[in-house]
């Protein structure tokens, strides 16, 4: 008789613990979902940013030749105008005083 009472009590304790485990799991469920969701989204955003960053860096590297070409053009212009500087000054001076 005593053993049965003790046995029932052990099972009741076990059931109480089971209920507690279920309750705690239910309580954690939303938080677990949210955390997992946010981590996955954050990872996706990181990937997206990385792709964009790489695309920008690649494009900038490729576009450097355009700037180099412009700098060469500037040097050519400077060389040409060095030869034509006096001609231009005299022509404009003539425009003003003639």
């Amino acid at each position: 008789m005593e053993g049965e009472i003790e046995g029932r009590r052990i099972l009741e304790d076990a059931n109480d613990q089971t209920e507690k485990i279920k309750r705690e799991a239910q309580e954690k469920a939303e938080e677990v979902y949210k955390k997992e969701y946010e981590e996955a989204i954050a990872e996706g955003e990181r990937k997206s940013m990385e792709l964009k960053k790489k695309a920008r860096e690649n494009a900038e590297r490729e576009a450097e030749s355009i700037l180099r070409h412009a700098e060469e053009q500037v040097k050519e212009i400077q060389a040409k105008t060095r030869e034509r500087f006096d001609e231009a000054v005299n022509a404009i001076l003539g425009e003003i005083i003639s």
Partner: protein, 210 residues
């Protein structure tokens, strides 16, 4: 008899403990599975969003590339244009320096006379006041000769009066009607300013021709 009873009680308790352990183990397993399902569901939902985000990123990449190239092209043409503008300005600065030097030379008096006649002609002749800077007032100008030239050009009898008022200029003249209503400014500064656009264009045409 008593030890038999003990044996039965111990068995009952042992069974209960085993069952309790199994119930708890099962509950924990079930809770873990439920949480794992939640995670899986979250990953799936996020996966859909990430997938559409990455699709948009793919289309953004072309835009990013286009923007970078547009910016660089704009920067490149700005670099060339800026240098051209700088070189044109350099020429005009040099012109100004030469005009300053010219205003101290012997040639200057004839230039000044031309400026006076031009200004007088623009004003249509008549009685006109001539304003010069302090240095030019000392030059041996011949107002009557200049007035005659204006008369010939405009067909209107012209008289030039040298004003005592001195103007601030490095060269050139201001001519105005005696009532001061109409003014022709032929100072170097005014000419450079008035004709700046045209002079910059002409300078550019010489400097950058092929």
């Amino acid at each position: 008899m008593e030890s038999e009873m003990h044996g039965i009680v111990d068995r009952i308790l042992d069974d209960s403990r085993k069952k309790a352990k199994s119930i708890i183990k099962e509950a924990r397993k079930s809770a873990d599975m439920m949480l794992e399902k939640q995670k899986e569901s979250a990953r799936q939902k996020a996966g859909e969003k990430v997938s559409s985000m990455l699709k948009k990123t793919e289309s953004d990449l072309a835009t990013i590339r286009g923007t970078v190239f547009t910016d660089v092209r704009r920067k490149a043409s700005w670099t060339v244009l800026y240098e051209k503008e700088r070189l044109v300005t350099h020429v005009l600065d040099e012109v100004k320096t030469k005009l300053e030097a010219l205003s101290q030379s012997k040639k200057y008096i004839s230039i000044l006379e031309t400026f006076i006649v031009d200004a007088g002609t623009v004003l249509g002749g008549g009685t006109l006041e001539v304003l010069l800077n302090k240095r030019d007032l000392t030059l041996p100008l011949k107002p009557n000769v200049l007035a005659k030239a204006i008369t010939e050009k405009t067909g209107k009898t012209t008289q030039l009066k040298l004003s005592k008022q001195k103007i601030e200029t490095f060269g050139g003249v201001v001519v105005k009607t005696v009532d001061g209503k109409i003014v022709a400014d032929n100072t170097f500064e005014a000419i450079l300013k008035r004709r700046e656009k045209e002079l910059r264009f002409k300078t550019a045409r010489i400097l950058f021709r092929d």
